[in-house]
Amino acid sequence: MVKANDRTKLILGCILTGIVLIMCLCGIFFTPYDPMAMDAAADKSVSLKHIMGCDQFGRDVFSRVLVGVKETMIVAGSVVLIGAFFGTILGTVTGYFGGWLDEILMRLNDAVLAFPSVLLALLIIGLYGGGRNTLILALGIAFIPSFARIVRSEVLRIRNLDYIKSVRLFGAGHLRIIVVHILPNLKTVLFSGILIGFNNAVLAEAGMSYLGMGVAPPNPSLGRMLSEAQAYIFTNPLTAVFPGITIVIMILGFSLLSEAFKKG
């Protein structure tokens, strides 16, 4: 086993993520077949015509994986954006000002964090019904606390640094200090936070869709494809293998990237 250094991690990560991004673009602009079209007569095995075979309805698995990657990326991306955006606001405000506001918000934050995120998502989906948008909202809320924590501890560290003290002596307002002097210094923490968060979001989306609570059928998402293929695991295992491998590539790529950036 070769011990991978940061450079190889970066290169491998870029390659894997690149593959996923290309798949995602294909999912948006071009798929070899209509991913929803059913064909009772289709040969379900892997062939030149259907490079990943067909599922039980005779739908082309490759096309479905492409669109599934797109769906999963949209969900995971939006979830991380929601989490990072509100998490950063929350973390900065509480970390910078401290005091009773910090106490209250952070205890609330702890409460949400302590609550199992899947359960929280289930609750929201139970209230507002399933579907992609509710899923994004539900997971997004569940992702806020972890970002808030990372950002808050970083802001706590930065605000006691000498340069902030001197800016304050120059008479800069709170807003200016936060936006101009603190936020830019959060980018390293946030970046690796987003990459890790993205991974968790991909898995969460797959998990929720697998439980039948995410993207509505017949639309493909990687988790939903896994869930549908499960019943055919003994008769047509390839329908489960390909979406599974795609999830692995996706996660591995982003993990390697975040590793590489953390060190660098």
């Binding site: 929803m36 059913m38 039980q56 309805f57 139970g126 399933g130 499960q230």
Partner: protein
């Protein structure tokens, strides 16, 4: 385990003793046992007059019986009563009580118990399923060993309701301690674990074959195959085609029957586009039911054309399924005529715990695309489906299966009368109401059958719903056992199962 061994030893011993005493070597008296997997615990009441869940009722069928009892053809035969007479005007029913019928606690069945059961179920407060049929009772009383029931109006289906379970008046808590007269008696239940039934050796009729029955709760559908192959259950009713495939080369026999329900895309007739009969017919022409069976069910299942399935025998009309042959041109033309050319879109609500319905809906969405109809699937939890879709009638279309609580055409068709509480599709057709009313009140059986059939034709011709199929049902049974019988109602007759 130790307790189990002791129990086994005891049963073995008593079995040998019974054999020794009666001096016969019949296999009925052996110490056999079977473990049957059931999908859910019997969480609602164990009182047969109160229980509503189909899964509970199918088990209670073995513990209780009525004055009459259905057989595997759906015909009724006398049980607690040993015969009955119906007066020529059809208004007076006289049941002769069978001698020597005992409850599981050893007490004999008395006329008082039977009268108690009738009064309990006629009580409008009880919430019993029999209330509406029993409101027709003018008077009932005991005459020596006979029970006489007088009706206000003739009701050809009334005998069906005499399958009502007979329970002892003296039982203070029928909810948790069910006592009946059936071939099996309730022994104990450990919640979310199992329920144990033991053969009732004082049963009046042909005694059950298997001595001890354990009903094991297998809540996760994914583990059923594992349980079967691992030997922890011997029988599971209603497995899916995929599970069936996995059991192919094992020591299990797979029996094929039908689920006895009408799977359809039920249409809310109050949803603006579906108010137009032509739109509903267009959907019927667009949906290819054979293709649904082929894609989602390995080609198994019985295509249906109306709200009736084959097990109903004389009421079932096979020809209804040929009314709407797949015809995309006709479907498009009908949509155009109704003003919905390429502009119809609606949501299909599907309960998320029923994969067969989800799979059906997926195929429907694809088929409807071909006539320019945009349908999308909305998955909801089962509880939400019951409260919002069924009770609240807040939906556009839904794919589910609907069954009958009694083996009567009335139970199946009453649902579509305009003012019926169960009319969740808001079907409203004066002609139908009229025909149904005539059918219920008519005195001649042949005439009633014809009128019920007319009702089915009306449903088909007006395309009340997009009827799809009666799903195939597969039962996996360890090949040590035999004798499983399919019933036209949702029950499992354990008493007929025996060792090979």
């Amino acid at each position: 385990m130790k307790a189990f061994k002791r129990l086994l030893a005891l049963t073995l011993m008593s079995a040998t003793l019974t054999v020794a005493f009666c001096g016969c070597g019949s296999d009925k008296a052996d110490a056999s046992s079977i473990t049957i997997g059931i999908p859910q615990d019997l969480e609602d009441s164990l009182d047969p007059h109160v229980a509503v869940a189909a899964g509970t009722k199918e088990i209670l069928f073995n513990i209780f019986e009525g004055l009459v009892k259905p057989d595997k053809n759906g015909d009724l035969y006398p049980a607690v009563a040993d015969s009955y007479e119906i007066s020529t005007d059809g208004l007076t029913y006289t049941f002769h009580m069978r001698k020597g019928v005992k409850f599981h606690d050893g007490n004999p069945v008395t006329a008082e118990d039977i009268l108690y059961c009738i009064s309990k179920n006629a009580d409008t407060e009880s919430g019993s399923a029999y209330v509406s049929a029993f409101s027709n009772i003018e008077d009932y009383y005991a005459e020596g060993e006979n029970i006489v029931i007088k009706l206000k109006q003739k009701d050809t289906d009334f005998l069906q309701y005499m399958t009502m379970a007979i329970i002892p008046k003296s039982n203070p808590n029928p909810d948790t301690n069910p006592i009946g007269t059936g071939p099996y008696k309730f022994t104990y239940r450990s919640p979310q674990e199992n329920i144990v039934l033991t053969r009732f050796d004082d049963y009046w009729g042909e005694k059950a074959h298997i001595k001890e029955v354990t009903l094991k709760i297998c809540a996760s559908a994914d583990s059923i195959v594992m349980y079967l192959l691992g030997g922890s259950i011997d029988l599971f009713a209603r497995i899916t085609t995929t599970q069936m495939e996995q059991l192919k080369d094992s020591n299990f026999d797979i029996l094929e029957g039908t689920m006895n329900l009408v799977q359809a895309m039920y249409l809310n007739n109050n949803f603006e586009p579906f108010k137009d009969e032509r739109v509903r017919q267009a959907l019927c022409y667009a949906i290819d039911r054979d293709e649904i069976l082929k894609l989602s069910f390995n080609g198994k299942g019985t295509v249906l054309g109306s709200s009736m399935f084959p097990a109903f025998g004389k009421y079932y009309i096979d020809e209804t399924k040929d009314v709407y042959k797949p015809d995309l041109e006709k479907a498009k033309a009908l949509l155009k005529e109704a003003g919905y050319e390429n502009s119809l879109s609606f949501a299909i609500t599907v309960p998320s715990n029923y994969q067969p319905h989800i799979d059906t809906a997926q195929v429907i969405v694809e088929q409807l695309k071909k006539i320019g109809v945009k349908a999308e699937i909305k998955l909801v939890e089962w509880d939400t489906w019951v409260s919002d879709t069924y009770v609240g009638r807040n939906f556009e279309a839904t794919v589910v299966g609907v069954d009958a609580s009694q083996m009567t055409a009335r139970a199946m068709l009453e649902r579509f009368v305009s003012d019926s509480g169960k009319n969740f599709i808001n079907y409203s057709n004066p002609e139908y109401d009229e025909t149904f009313k005539k059918a219920v009140s008519t005195t001649d059986d042949a005439e009633a059958t014809k009128l019920y059939k007319d009702c089915e034709w009306i449903l088909t011709n007006t395309a009340a719903n997009v009827y799809i199929q009666d799903l195939a049902e597969f039962v996996a049974i360890n090949n040590k056992y035999t004798g499983y019988e399919f019933y036209p109602i949702y029950v499992m007759d354990i008493a007929k199962i025996r060792l090979k």
